[in-house]
Symmetry: C2
Subunit: 157 residues, 2 copies
């Protein structure tokens, strides 16, 4: 296996581990909320124009799936929907007070993860971060172009 593949599959494995480990932790602090629900809450908290379509694109999921998650979050009273006066089709979401509370717990948890992994991040130099950032961005743009080429066309963000 060459280095490209090693790095890519290394990152995949790393990502899987993070998901797996953080999920365990989240089940304790955020009992009763699924990871996907919490992720949607996070996104809605950050984006004032969050709707089903935007969420679906961001998470590489179908509108169908997001629609169901949103429904559940509304039933739980964690988000509420609203419309813009000039548009009767698009439905936006925002966090309720209880949703904000969940979001804060989630943020707190993120800080704990950051703290937990501090030792790994510390020795990385500014220059190294920048290199990795540039690599990721370039690869990402390359794939966007590739998707367009292929006619698939789905450009999130």
């Amino acid at each position: 296996m060459n280095k490209e593949d090693q790095v890519i599959s290394g990152f995949r494995d790393l990502y899987n581990k993070l998901v797996w480990l953080n999920k365990s932790k989240m089940e304790v602090s955020l009992k009763g909320h699924k990871p996907s629900e919490v992720h949607c809450i996070e996104y809605i908290g950050k984006h004032a124009d969050a709707n089903v379509t935007k969420l679906a694109e961001h998470f590489y999921m179908t509108r169908s799936a997001i629609s169901k998650i949103a429904k559940k979050l509304m039933e739980k009273g964690l988000i509420e929907s609203f419309q813009r006066p000039d548009n009767k089709k698009e439905i936006y979401f925002k966090l309720t007070e209880r949703g904000e509370a969940v979001n804060r717990i989630h943020e707190q948890l993120h800080n704990e993860f950051r703290e937990r992994d501090k030792a790994v991040f510390e020795p990385i130099t500014e220059a190294q971060w920048d290199q990795m950032m540039r690599f990721v961005e370039r690869y990402s743009r390359h794939l966007d172009a590739e998707m367009k080429n292929q006619g698939v066309d789905r450009t999130p963000e």
Copy 2:
């Protein structure tokens, strides 16, 4: 958002894009086989001691899920199971001739992906690959230790 988070979430997004795009391509060349099936075939092709437990650990999935995928692959005649004379419990898998064929198509596809993304990889220096590798490995080991700490204990590979 700080650089650590940017890099991590950048990689997550990159990974999602890769999965999404490659899935489209695989549906063409490997019609009739799900990604998870193809991944299992790949692993079985590479590991002579592949069994349900090893596959589950590698893919961060439950034994239950793998058991079902394996069942399907056996029905399709892509893999076959065998036992070691000194152990009546563990069941190992190997590829059939048809499984090998699927595996070769998959490998070919991987070469195409590599070719497709060549332009992104070329400007990365040997030193940069090594840096990224070291980062991934260190982080990975850190998380392994963390899992053990937490008593979760699941150390793949």
